[in-house]
Symmetry: C2
Subunit: 406 residues, 2 copies
C-alpha cells in the first residue's frame, strides 16, 4: 500500500469552494493509486466560531486563567469540527471517508498540555480504515496521553501531526497544503520577484523557519527528517508541485537536488528591541551576563542576538517584552541603552559555511542602500543583521538582489 499524507491548513478550509479544492487534491492522489490520510487544522476564518482563537477567547471571557488541560479539551473541538465538515465533502462526492480524532488515530503524547510532544504513534486504526479503501481524515494538532487526557501540540501542531503520521505510516509523501505555492526565496509581499524554490533541504527549511519565515514548523521538519520522509509544501489553489523538502542528493520523479546554491533565502523578523548594558571598566563584572540571562529566563523573556564582551552585554528581545526587560535590568542595579523598533534580516543557506566573502557581500549590499547595520551574528548556515525597522524591507530587497535569488 503506497500512502500519502496530505495536510490542509485552516485557510484552505474556510469556504465551501476552498474545501472542494482541497478535496480535489486528495482525489487526484487517490486516482494516482495512493491510500489517503488527510490531516486538517481548525477552520481558520477570522471571527469563525470554530476557529482556535474564538474557542480560546470564549473560555477567557469567563475567566482569564484557563487550566491547560481543560483548554486542550476545548481546542480539540476545533479540528474535530473541521475534520467532520471536510468528511462531508468527500461523502457528498461519493467517496468513502471517515474521521479519526488525534486519540483515535493513535497519537500518544506527553502530558505537557498546550505544548505536548508526540511520544509515539499507534497507526493500527488508520491502517485498518485505509485497507477498507477509506479516505482517513485525522484531526490535526491533537493527541492523547497514556492516561486518556486529550492534549494539543502547540504552534504548527497540524504540520507535526502530518509529519508524525508520515513517519509512522512510512508515507511516500507528506504534502503540506497552504495558500502559497511553496517556499519562497523571500516574502513576496516585500520582494516582488521572490522565487518559489523547487527543492529545499530539511536543514535549510528549519533555518528559514527559525529565522522567521512562515513556513513549516521546525518540529514537523525534524520528525520527517529522521526517517527521510519527503515533505512537499504546496498550494491548495494552484496546480504546481510546490517545494519538495528532502535531503541533498535524493532524487524524485522529476526533480534532482542541486547542491550549488549558496543561499536559500532571505527572511525577516520585525518588532525587536536591542538592549545594550555597559559597566564601568573598574567594576568587577564577573558573572554579570549570567545574572542578566537568568533573570530574563525566570521572567520567561526569550532573548536573541547575544553578544557578550568583558564590560558590555548586548542582546535583543521582542518589542512587547522590552519594558519588562528594562525593569529587570534596573532591578539588578544596571542601566540599559534601549533601542526599540529594530528588525532582524537573515541570509539563510546551508552551503554558505566556509565560503569566503558572504559577509562582505551582505555588508556591501546594505551599505550601498545606506542601511545602518546595528549588529550582526552568524552561524554556519545563517548570517543575521539587525537594522532599523524602517530599513527592513529595503534590506531584504537588497540582499535578495545581491545574491541573485530571483
Amino acid at each position: 500500500m503506497k500512502i500519502i499524507v496530505q495536510k490542509f491548513g485552516g485557510s484552505s478550509l474556510t469556504t465551501k469552494e476552498r474545501r472542494v479544492q482541497a478535496a480535489n487534491k486528495v482525489i487526484v492522489a487517490k486516482r494516482e493509486g495512493y491510500a489517503n490520510v488527510v490531516v486538517v487544522s481548525a477552520i481558520g476564518r477570522i471571527g469563525d466560531p470554530y476557529a482556535t482563537d474564538t474557542l480560546i477567547n470564549m473560555a477567557k471571557e469567563v475567566n482569564r486563567d484557563v487550566i491547560p488541560r481543560e483548554l486542550d479539551l476545548l481546542l480539540n473541538c476545533g479540528e474535530i469540527i473541521s475534520a467532520v465538515v471536510l468528511c462531508q465533502v468527500f461523502t457528498g462526492l461519493g467517496y468513502d471517508a471517515t474521521v479519526l480524532t488525534g486519540a483515535q488515530a493513535g497519537i500518544i503524547t506527553d502530558r505537557a498540555f498546550t505544548e505536548a510532544r508526540i511520544l509515539r504513534v499507534n497507526p493500527e486504526k488508520i491502517l485498518k480504515n485505509l485497507k477498507e479503501n477509506k479516505i482517513v481524515i485525522v484531526a490535526g494538532f491533537q493527541g492523547v496521553t497514556d492516561e486518556g487526557d486529550l492534549t494539543t501540540l502547540g504552534r504548527g501542531g497540524s504540520d507535526t501531526t502530518a509529519s508524525a503520521l508520515g513517519v509512522a505510516l512510512n508515507a511516500e509523501f507528506v504534502d503540506i497544503f497552504t495558500d502559497v505555492d511553496g517556499i519562497k526565496t523571500a516574502d513576496p509581499r516585500i520582494v516582488k520577484n521572490a522565487r518559489t524554490l523547487e527543492v529545499i533541504t530539511y536543514n535549510e527549511i528549519c533555518q528559514l523557519a527559525h529565522q522567521g519565515a512562515k513556513v513549516l514548523h521546525p518540529r514537523a521538519v525534524e520528525i520527517a527528517m529522521q526517517k527521510n520522509i519527503p515533505l512537499r509544501v504546496r498550494s491548495t489553489f494552484e496546480d504546481s508541485l510546490g517545494t519538495l523538502v528532502t535531503n541533498y542528493g535524493d532524487t524524485y520523479n522529476t526533480v534532482e537536488i542541486s547542491s550549488d546554491r549558496l543561499l536559500t533565502g532571505i527572511t525577516h523578523v520585525p518588532n525587536i528591541t536591542q538592549l545594550k548594558i555597559f559597566t564601568n571598566k573598574s567594576e568587577n563584572t564577573k558573572g554579570l551576563e549570567l545574572k542578566i540571562f537568568r533573570a530574563m529566563a525566570l521572567s520567561n523573556i526569550s532573548i536573541d542576538f547575544i553578544n557578550v564582551h568583558p564590560h558590555q552585554v548586548i542582546f535583543t528581545v521582542k518589542d512587547d517584552d522590552a519594558l519588562k526587560a528594562e525593569k529587570i535590568i534596573e532591578n539588578i542595579g544596571l542601566t540599559a541603552e534601549v533601542l526599540p523598533g529594530c528588525a532582524k534580516v537573515s541570509a539563510v543557506g546551508a552551503n554558505m559555511a566556509g565560503v569566503p566573502g558572504v559577509m562582505s557581500k551582505i555588508v556591501e549590499a546594505l551599505t550601498e542602500e545606506n542601511i545602518q547595520i546595528l549588529q550582526t551574528a552568524d552561524s554556519h548556515t545563517t548570517i543575521w543583521c539587525l537594522v532599523r525597522k524602517e530599513d527592513m524591507e529595503k534590506a531584504v530587497i537588497a540582499l535578495h538582489k545581491k545574491f541573485n535569488l530571483s
Copy 2:
C-alpha cells in the same frame, strides 16, 4: 463520600449570569458536604454557534447525509465546549474543578450512533477526582464504544448521563436543573393555576413523559428507578427543592409521599391525524390490520391510538406523516377517512387503575365544555382522548379543573 450529581440543561448555561446561578447550585451542595459531579448539555441558545442544532446544520450544509459515526464526533464537541465554559466559572470563583468527556468519565455505550445506549459506567476517573476534592464536570449526552468510537445518547441524553452516573456512583440525589421549578400538573402556559408536584413516582413521571409532557426522558427515569436513586427536577433560577422523583412510601428529609392522589397531571400532544379505514362487510379482511401496520412500520411511521374492529381500523399518525400514510393505504388498495389537526389529551395517574368513574368524569368534563371526543383509549395509568386541535387547550383546562389538580 456522599455524592450528588447535578445536571444543567442548555437553557441554564446560555448567559454568564445563568452559568453563575448554575454554579451556585453546585456550590450550595458542596457546602452541604457533597462531593460534586456536574453534568452539562450543550449551550442551547437559539442560533448559538455551539448549540447542537447549529453543529448539525453545519454538517448538513455541506451534504445532507451525515454518517452517524461522524455526526456523533461533531456533536460531542457541543457538550465539551459547554463543560469547559462552566469549569471556567468554578475556577474563576476559586474552586478546583476539572472536565471529563463522556469517554473519560467511563460511559461505555453500544455502537448505535446518534441513539447509543449505555452498557456500563467505569467511574474510577470520576472517583479519583472527587477524592482530590475537585468539582467534576462531565460532558453529558455522550459516551464511547469499547472500540474507542465516540457516540451520543439521543434525545434526553444528558438526563440519561446524569442518571447513569447517579447509579454508578450511588449518589444521594440526581438533580435535573431546568428553567421550570419542577413537574407541573399541566402545561402552565395553558393552565394558569397548574401546580408544581412536590413528589412524583418513577412510574408517574414516565407516563407523563410518554404522554407528551416535556420533563425527564423516560430512559433516564428507568435507569434511576433500577437502583432507586432519587431524582429531583429543579429550577436553576429559583430556590425551591422542585419535584422529587422516587418510589411510593420512601421518605426523605422533609417530604413523605402520599399515595391518595388519583391523577398526577394532564398532558397534551397536538398535530395528530386520525385515519379510519373501513372495508365492505362481505370482503375477507382477515389479516388486514397486520398488512397496514407492517406497511407503516416499513416506512418508519409510528402509529398510535389503535382501534381494531372486524371491518374497521382506526389509528393516528403525526400530521407530518399523514400524506405518506394515506399513500401507503391506497397502495394496499384501501381508502382512508382522514381527519388532520387533532390533538391527544391525556389524564395520567398511577392510582386510577380500578377506580370506578374516572372515564365518566372525563367525558363529563369535556361534554360540559362542548368538546367532541373523537376517540378514547385507556391503560391502567392513563386515559387518552382525541379531540380537535382547536379544543385542546379548553380540554386540558377542563380536565385539570374537574380533578382538582390546582
